[in-house]
């Protein structure tokens, strides 16, 4: 259902529901805003980050009815509708006293991407993901909860990118038409000592993406042009069954959860694509290529996971967790390619080739972790070991050699925590992993990680928190010569008044990251790929209310001084509220963003956004 219809539907439901319930026990809130924005700089860059626009915004729509009649609860929760926000969501819930409930969820997120200064500049995205979920939950019979749900995901919109042909790149557009729908039956026990859940779902996936010639000039100055591009390719998976079983138990001295999953997916691809190029604008001739394909892929996955926790007496806790995944994929494709060069006089030369190809992709993952913890009166220490194994066996194409690698890993962790009641708690943890063999050359041979967290409540509403982590990973020079160090750390200080009417705080974060990897350039030369971040973020925030006036806001400054791609950015928000009579609130909003790339300025922007909002709580 298009978004406007959804919004009208919501309002209609609200009005229809509000009328008979007006004299009943219902409450809620509704608030809307209108926002204007001034963009100085690259608006597409701003949209790629925030995707905000001018217009109306539904800030909040909540409606809640609770009663003792046939309907025990009716709830609507919606936000984001309007042109101003790229995301919107609505939930409707109906609970019947007879022991069943109905839920309907909707959300939509718009994605935009178009950066002139990026090396992804030749790609532009403008699409939406829309999700619907409806569920009927029957819990009239206390021992068993039964739910039947339907979920649908649609992706629609356009991607513009380049197409490689005639030794040049040509811009094309792709109309996206991707859908997924899924029906699930879920049974969950509620009164047995061991809680059992069984889920059975059936899903279908379909992609009918259609390319089109945008009519723009070729990138690179080629005088030829893409005359036409078309496709009738359909990719679909019908009836993908997934079965999941979960058993969980929680008792005084034992907690455990085990889950099993099995999924089988079969993909079918059929259809043809054609491209034609006008050489010399068509005066010299045309080149046409038709690519018909019939492809298939099958993937079976079995997965199991278990987590167990044992209390061994008053002080000791033993935790065991493990999981195992076994997946196998087989694919095949048969193509028939036709290439034709035609002169304007009518003669042509045609080449026709066909090929069969097949591939396999199998993997087995296993992982186990054991920790033992001793708990004192206000402190604890723990330690444990980790073991993992990943076996990958693939043959990407019949043109490639089979690839079979098993990568094993072992590791350990040590930690300590001190928790002095409400005042302070501290956690210190160190873990290390050692691995052999490499599925990909950039995988580490060793990983060391140390983490420190301190939280304090200083009294009088003050809090001071510190945290830091250091992660280091390496692999040998004869693999990739990888050397990665990451050090995020930060401090946060805040104060909240006793009644919660005022607060102020500051967060300071620093993130240093450097990775240095040996690479082989296409020319055959050896080089290093070095990526470095030196990010600092400072956020000041607060809110207060005095009488009928309220103010809330935040201001964030972000700077990256790393050598790779230094950036400075600001964002701030301020909301002034006047609390009027009849639970009405009138607000003025100001929002600000700036983004400044040090090396280039094509994607820089400064955006001021402001608006007025009215909210009513009832």
């Amino acid at each position: 259902m298009p978004r406007t219809k959804w919004f009208v539907f919501l309002v209609t439901v609200c009005v229809a529901a509000a009328s008979p319930l007006a004299a009943q026990d219902w409450s809620g809130a509704v608030g809307g805003a209108y926002l204007w924005q001034n963009v100085d700089g690259n608006e597409d860059s701003f949209r790629s980050q925030m995707n905000l626009e001018e217009g109306f915004l539904l800030e909040d729509l909540k409606m809640l009815y609770r009663g003792q009649g046939a309907i025990s609860e009716f709830k609507i929760d919606a936000w984001g509708f309007g042109d101003a926000n790229p995301a919107e969501a609505a939930k409707i819930g109906l609970e019947f006293g007879a022991g069943f409930s109905f839920y309907l969820d909707y959300d939509r997120r718009a994605s935009f991407f178009n950066l002139a200064g990026s090396d992804l500049a030749q790609r532009a995205d403008d699409w939406d993901i829309t999700r619907y979920r409806g569920a009927l939950v029957i819990d009239a019979w206390r021992p068993l909860e039964i739910s039947l749900s339907y979920r649908a995901v649609d992706r629609e919109g356009t991607v513009k990118r380049t197409l490689y042909g005639l030794n040049e790149q040509y811009p094309i557009g792709i109309d996206l038409d991707e859908t997924m729908s899924e029906m699930t039956l879920r049974l969950a026990t509620r009164t047995l000592p061991v809680r059992l859940e069984l889920e059975q779902s059936m899903a279908t996936y379909t992609r009918k993406n259609r390319p089109f010639a945008t009519g723009d000039e070729a990138i690179g100055g080629d005088p030829d042009e893409l005359g036409n591009i078309s496709s009738n390719v359909v990719e679909e998976m019908d009836s993908v069954p997934t079965t999941r079983f979960i058993a969980s138990y929680s008792g005084k001295n034992f907690e455990g959860v085990a889950s099993l999953l099995w999924r089988s997916a079969e993909l079918d691809v059929s259809g043809s694509e054609s491209q034609s190029y006008l050489i010399g604008g068509g005066d010299t001739g045309t080149w046409e290529m038709v690519d018909s394909a019939l492809g298939a892929a099958e993937q079976d996955t079995f997965a199991a996971a278990v987590s167990l926790g044992f209390k061994l007496g008053q002080r000791w806790t033993l935790r065991l967790s493990g999981d195992h995944r076994d997946g196998s994929s087989n694919s095949s494709i048969v193509t028939d390619r036709l290439s034709r060069v035609a002169s304007p006089l009518g003669s042509d030369v045609t080449w026709r080739t066909s090929f069969d190809d097949a591939g396999t992709f199998d993997f087995t993952d296993s992982r186990a972790r054991l920790t033992l913890e001793y708990q004192g009166n206000n402190w604890s220490v723990w330690g444990g070991g980790i073991s993992s194994s990943r076996d990958v066996n693939w043959q990407f194409s019949e043109d490639n050699d089979p690839y079979d690698v098993q990568r094993d890993g072992t590791g350990y962790l040590l930690g300590a925590a001190w928790n002095a009641g409400e005042k302070i708690d501290l956690t210190l943890e160190f873990d290390r992993g050692d691995f052999d063999e490499y599925i990909f050359r950039v995988q580490p041979e060793t990983v060391d990680r140390a983490t420190l967290k301190v939280r304090t409540r200083l009294g009088g509403g003050w809090r001071l928190d510190l945290h830091g982590r250091h992660v280091k990973s390496e692999n040998p020079d004869d693999v990739a010569g990888l050397d990665t160090k990451a050090t995020p750390y930060g401090i946060a200080c805040s104060w909240t008044s006793g009644d919660g009417s005022s607060s102020v705080g500051i967060d300071l974060e620093q993130y240093s990251f450097k990775t240095d990897t040996g690479v082989m350039l296409p020319s055959g030369g050896l080089d290093r790929s070095i990526y470095e971040l030196d990010l600092a973020t400072a956020t000041l925030y607060g809110h207060t209310r005095s009488g009928i006036f309220g103010v809330s806001g935040s201001l964030t400054y972000l700077t990256d001084d790393g050598d790779s791609f230094p950036v400075d950015a600001w964002n701030g928000r301020l909301r002034l509220t006047l609390y009027g009579g009849s639970s009405l609130e009138y607000s003025a909003l100001v929002q600000y963003w700036s983004y400044d790339e040090v090396q280039f300025d094509l994607d820089d922007f400064d955006v001021l956004r402001y608006g007025l909002a009215v909210n009513w709580r009832f």
Binding site: N85, R142, G327, S329
Partner: protein, 277 residues
């Protein structure tokens, strides 16, 4: 008849699990003094959920959380009653997946993070899901500062000016895997929304199949477009691909972003070189 039998057994089990089952004080007794609290609780989501199971649970809910109250009734001071529910009080009724924090998030347990640090008691009107006292991103940010801060990056998961909720991807209780797809492979939780990348593909991109989305993307936020782990796309690709044919002249703009040609980076159903999406 069977239904009533099961209801009776369920109610009996629930009542038996309340540690103070022998306590004679009911909500009616408490309401004699706390007439501003008890009716609000009974009408709220917690009270109604109790009543749906059995009204007897609601009747005994005050002592269920606050402990024995006989002495308090004789001498109503704050010294002889648990003003804040005793540790374990919540789990006496929520022993299942909701209570499995000791194995799924032991750090919460170690640091004294308890149920009521995130969830309300039901005494005040909470319109949030799961009776949370605030939006999930605010609750999590109180401790997970670094993760919260990463959503301030230029490119991040966000819902416009509204923060992206942690619970969209993370689950705290019990089975710590959000969805069915999460069990299929690494990055599965991403595929709950980005279903078009689920596969299988005729020609998959192995890193996605083996390591998942985080092989190339930063899940919370990144200074790089598309939330990639590197600013230069070619750098990301060349760190793995060591046998790129020599005609790829990386000094030319065309070859600086591999995706210009190898557009089907998540997998192709047409071309082994991942040319076509």
């Amino acid at each position: 008849m069977t239904r009533h039998l099961f209801l009776a057994v369920a109610a009996a089990l629930a009542l038996a699990s309340v540690a103070v089952a022998q306590e004679p004080v009911t909500m009616e007794t408490c309401e004699m003094c706390h007439d501003d609290v008890a009716p609000v609780f009974a009408a709220g989501p917690h009270g109604r959920a109790m009543a749906m199971v059995d009204t007897a649970i609601l009747d005994r809910s005050c002592v269920g959380c606050h402990g024995p109250a006989t002495e308090h009734i004789d001498d109503p001071t704050t010294e002889n009653i648990n003003r804040v529910p005793a540790p374990g009080a919540c789990l006496s009724c929520h022993p299942g997946q909701e209570g499995m924090t000791d194995i799924s998030t032991p750090a919460h347990v170690r640091n004294g993070v308890a149920c009521l640090d995130c969830h309300g008691t039901g005494h005040s009107e909470l319109k949030t899901d799961h009776m949370l006292t605030s939006a999930p991103h605010k609750l999590c940010a109180e401790c997970h500062l670094s993760e919260s801060g990463s959503f301030q990056m230029p490119y991040a998961h966000r819902d416009g000016t509204r923060p992206f909720e942690c619970t969209n991807c993370h689950s705290l209780h019990g089975d710590n895997r959000q969805g069915r797809l999460a069990m299929i492979g690494s990055g599965g939780v991403c595929l709950d929304c980005h279903t078009e990348k689920t596969g299988p593909f005729v020609y998959p991109h192995p890193p996605q199949q083996v390591n998942g989305c985080i092989n190339c993307h930063v899940p919370h936020g990144s200074p790089n477009p598309k939330m990639l782990t590197r600013h230069r796309v070619a750098a990301l690709c060349l760190e793995c691909h060591t046998n790129v044919p020599s005609f790829h002249d990386v000094s030319r703009p065309r070859y600086q972003s591999c995706q210009n040609c190898h557009a089907a980076i998540h997998g192709s159903n047409r071309d082994s070189r991942l040319f076509e999406e």
